[in-house]
Amino acid sequence: MHEINIPISDDTIRGLKVGDPVALNGIMLTGRDTVHKWMIDTFIRKTREPQGDDLKVYEAIKPLLKNSVIYHCGPVVSGLDTRQYKFVAAGPTTSIREEPYQAEVMKHFNIKGVIGKGGMGPKTLQGCQDTPAIYFHAIGGAASYIAQSVTRVLDVFKLDFGVPEAMWVIEVKDFPVVVTMDANGQSLHAVIQEQSNKVLQELLVK
């Protein structure tokens, strides 16, 4: 088990390989579909003018994301009335929906890791080499278990996106993940995809 503290250095990232189990410690942000699209449209490709608190939020998240990790997660959160937020259930969501955006978002914010499930495609794999960064796989559906690794909710941005789509700033301890895409161009998902396709082709002619 590799114990890794956030912020993460490039050397640490380049030293990780597909298959390595990792326990993450430190401060990270959640961000999924709405957040990725908002980042790309407003600040990266700039096809949309900043509105409301967009610029303020951008300045606030920049230092938080630098050398940190973004978690594809739409949590169940208690304490919404009192703002005494607590993560009740917080497993990963399917990452492939962020494939059109992820590499650009990683590079723009200098994000060193993405946590999700199901893996991502060639564009993100290239982004992992360029940034450099790691795709960490968490266990899908293990939401109550993973929520125990979230020790504190420090802040939330864009709650108007809805609870699942907001950016939650969280502190984690011993957050359990496995490296499935590394900064050296290796992807477990590409390997399994190819192997399973070979078996499928054999089954189809039976």
Binding site: G74, A89, G141, Q148, F161, V163, L188, L203, L204
Partner: protein
Amino acid sequence: MQDITENILELIRRTSTDLPADVENYILASIENEEPGSAARGALETILKNVALARKNATPICQDTGTPIFYVHYPEGMSTRKLSEQIRAAMVEATKRSYMRPNAVDVMTEKNSGNNLGGESFPYIHFEEVEGDELTIELMLKGGGCENVGAQYSLPDTRLGAGRDLAGVRKVVLDAVQKAQGKGCAPGILGVSFGGDRGAGYLASKEVLFNKMDEGSSDPKLAALEQQLTDEANQMGIGPMGFGGKTTVLNTKITGLHRLPASYFVSVSYMCWAYRRRKMTIKGNEVAYD
């Protein structure tokens, strides 16, 4: 008519936080097929730890508490309007208590309603009148990750060499499993229907998922195909979470529908390992949960 909002709330709590024993037993049995120390085995062990923890703390098994799908079988004379109001009131309370994540997003404004109510279709409620004086309410919670990898095929499919027969059904279902990889939170459970129109096909592929794990098709040909599909899906080596391994599909359920002469649809609903479905029965003052 008595107010059963509290009972429905309890049904939601159980469904979201307490994985049915038949599902848990299948996951438990599959662990032995995976190599000690492998990522596949580690994933299954984490899944089982999570199931126990969710049950103990009454917290959601999965943060994606899914589309709530209610099937209500009610005796003659009962008001479906009142039942619907009580189901909706229970959903709101279940969301407040964190049994459910607010999951209903207005597709035009992108606003999350915050209480799991949205128009006429969220939650989805199906009513059916039955003989006798017993009310049963079944609830399934189906997450978005596995819903996204569902698939529908129109046979013949020349790319896959799938004709309009059970052999063709087999081929397209295997293709759907390969395409899903680990994205639907494998190990999964396959709900398959063949025949029908596009709408009826998808609906039937979900309805068949209300059955128990050991409750296979009563048709011997379909029962054999169910077993064959589970075995062959597991030969593809996708494994839990797509990490590689022997456990890709836990179970397959197939049902057939009458079709138009021109149409031959195969509809596949992929259910994640967090296979949440429970039943409540009310007779007089007695309430039973399965």
